[in-house]
């Protein structure tokens, strides 16, 4: 079973839930928040990394500046002054320009989009790290996903757009982590509509439970969304997180939670 941990709002506790759930149940962990991966702070072990490339156009001297590539590119990733000049950071690696170039003057070459790192510790962690300056994390997320087996915990990026969708789309269950604040409630509603659209099974886990706002619980009740667990608001837990430590005294909670999801 692949369980994705997502949220909408950042900083609600996706990483906390992911690393503890994976560690206490000995499940492979995948950190797909490749823009800001942090699970490796909690999972130590033997590290191995590989560079990840995507394809971008390279223009040869055969280019006569006809501009077909610029016309077909939907991402403004090629400009033409006498000849074509690609802008790899903006390129989505769709391959249309090289295929459609009448002069066959464009070939595709490797461009580093990031790296994938595996950590063999108490559990196995696999994460991507996007090269600084790269616009889209989606290619790298797709690459890391190929390394995933049948059972995995997936730490997803915040937000509700393409990187989040790519991270949760092939999962069997999504844990939406929310905190009791009006901001989190707002973003939770958007996240619920995304996972519902994708026909994914999901439930809500409330983190920092005890903060003075009951809107998240009320919303879940009125929509019939299952609240699968609560993690209390606690300075102790926050301290452990700050030092990169697991929440040992909640081991049973995470074992039980994993059990109920199966």
């Amino acid at each position: 079973m692949r369980i994705a941990v997502a949220s909408g709002k950042g900083g609600t506790g996706k990483t906390t839930v992911s690393v503890n759930l994976a560690s206490f149940n000995s499940v492979d962990l995948f950190d797909l928040d490749v823009e800001e991966p942090n699970d490796h702070i909690f999972i130590k072990g033997y590290m191995k990394e590989n560079l990840v490339f995507r394809k971008v156009p390279e223009v040869s001297d055969g280019c006569n500046g006809c501009g077909v590539c610029r016309e077909v590119c939907q991402f403004s990733a090629i400009y033409v002054i006498d000849r074509a000049y690609p802008i790899p950071e903006l390129c989505h690696s769709c391959g249309a320009c090289s295929y459609l170039c009448p002069e066959k003057a464009i070939k595709e070459v490797d461009y580093q989009t990031g790296k994938v790192v595996t950590v063999e510790g108490d559990i196995k962690l696999t994460y991507g790290e996007l090269t600084i300056g790269e616009a889209s994390p989606v290619c790298l997320i797709k690459y890391v996903k190929q390394l995933m087996g049948k059972n995995a915990i997936i730490d997803s990026p915040p937000g509700t757009t393409c990187p989040m969708v790519e991270s949760v789309i092939d999962s069997d269950y999504v844990i939406l982590v929310a905190e009791p604040t009006p901001f989190s409630l707002h973003d939770l509603k958007i996240a619920v509509s995304v996972v519902s659209d994708l026909n994914l099974d999901f439930g809500v886990l409330i983190n920092k439970y005890g903060l003075p706002f009951d809107g998240v619980e009320k919303y879940c009740k009125s929509e019939g969304i299952e609240i699968i667990g609560k993690i209390p608001f606690s300075a102790e837990i926050a301290k452990k997180y700050s030092k990169g430590k697991l929440i040992d005294d909640m081991r049973d909670f995470f074992i039980e939670l994993y059990g109920t999801l199966w």
Binding site: K9, G11, A135, P158, P182, H186, D187, V194, D197
Partner: protein, 303 residues
């Protein structure tokens, strides 16, 4: 003036600004460190133009409770559609698509995966594929009790966030120019990808809101790398510093080592949490005072 004239001019700034408005982005790398709270605080002090560029999870409007003056529909993405009566089922589109966005037999487009690259459209020899513009979201121009506010909402699960951020910022800058505001605050999303890059382009400075955790430090390093990459001057503050004071000091030292100006630390403050929870704005508490001191340092440097 293109906007609802009377309403807007009633809160324009009487002091004419001599130069282009300064644009300052509030970023963090890591989510949930306090970007929105900090941005809202500056807005209440300065009465400036503020732009919520976290278009996939926007929150500022919840606090600012704005009066929406203008709603614009935003069309950015295109999706391919296969005209079944013209399709000869040759399968070329299926073969060329890099995004697994074509279902086979019968060939149809998976909207969730289509990036709108148009490869299939251009490749199809039967001219059986059309590219259709789809509504990606909405852009709002609003008024708050302190000034002007531009925000947007991306349709759930959509893409092209970077482009929408750029649209939001262009409108915010235009309002600042028309109304003689000297400052545009850009509340940016977490991460380092396209919407963050679009939030940082051409700003005069960025304020990074960090937190005293190993994750916070790790994300701070990457977001400062991003600022360097695009030549943006950065300032750093640590929010909720007393959750782990030694980590807060480590972040301060890291900034000093990197020659990035450290603005000071903001305490964890239950009053602030309660005020945000109850949407009691403007904030009045110790953390807010400390944030305002941090802001004043930036103000001195830039305005």
């Amino acid at each position: 003036m293109e906007l609802c004239g009377d309403l807007m001019s009633s809160i324009s700034n009487p002091e004419p600004a001599n130069s282009e408005p300064k644009q300052i982005a509030i970023i963090s790398g890591k989510g949930g460190t306090g970007k929105t709270t900090f941005s809202a605080l500056i807005h209440s002090i300065e009465g400036c133009v503020i732009a919520d560029c976290d278009v996939d999870a926007p929150n500022l409007h919840i606090l600012l409770n704005p009066e929406i003056l203008e709603v614009e529909e935003y069309y950015a993405s295109k999706k391919a559609r296969i005209l079944q009566d013209k399709c000869s089922s040759c399968g070329l589109c299926y073969g060329v698509c890099r995004f697994n966005a074509i279902f086979d037999k019968p060939y149809t487009v998976n909207d969730k995966r289509c990036e709108g690259c148009g490869f299939c459209y251009n490749a199809c020899s039967e001219k059986a594929i059309v590219m259709e513009t789809v509504k990606t979201g909405e852009i709002y121009k609003s008024k708050t009790r302190y000034g002007h506010f531009v925000h947007a909402l991306l349709k759930a699960g959509e893409e092209n966030t970077g482009r929408l951020v750029t649209e939001v910022r262009q409108r915010a800058k235009k309002i600042a120019e028309d109304m003689n505001f000297e400052l545009v605050i850009v509340d940016a999303p977490p991460g380092v990808g396209c919407p963050v890059i679009a939030s940082l382009t051409d700003v005069d400075a960025a304020i990074v809101i960090s937190e005293p955790t190993l994750s916070g430090l790790n994300d701070l390093k990457r977001v400062l790398d991003l600022c360097d990459h695009f030549g943006v001057k950065a300032f750093v503050t640590v929010n909720k510093y007393d959750l782990n004071e030694s980590m807060a000091l480590e972040i301060r030292d890291y900034c000093e080592g990197r020659e990035v100006e450290f603005l000071g630390s903001i305490p964890f403050d239950k009053d602030l949490i309660e005020q945000v929870s109850n949407l009691k704005y403007p904030f009045d508490c110790i953390a807010a005072e400390k944030m305002s001191e941090c802001w004043k340092t930036v103000r001195k440097r830039l305005l």
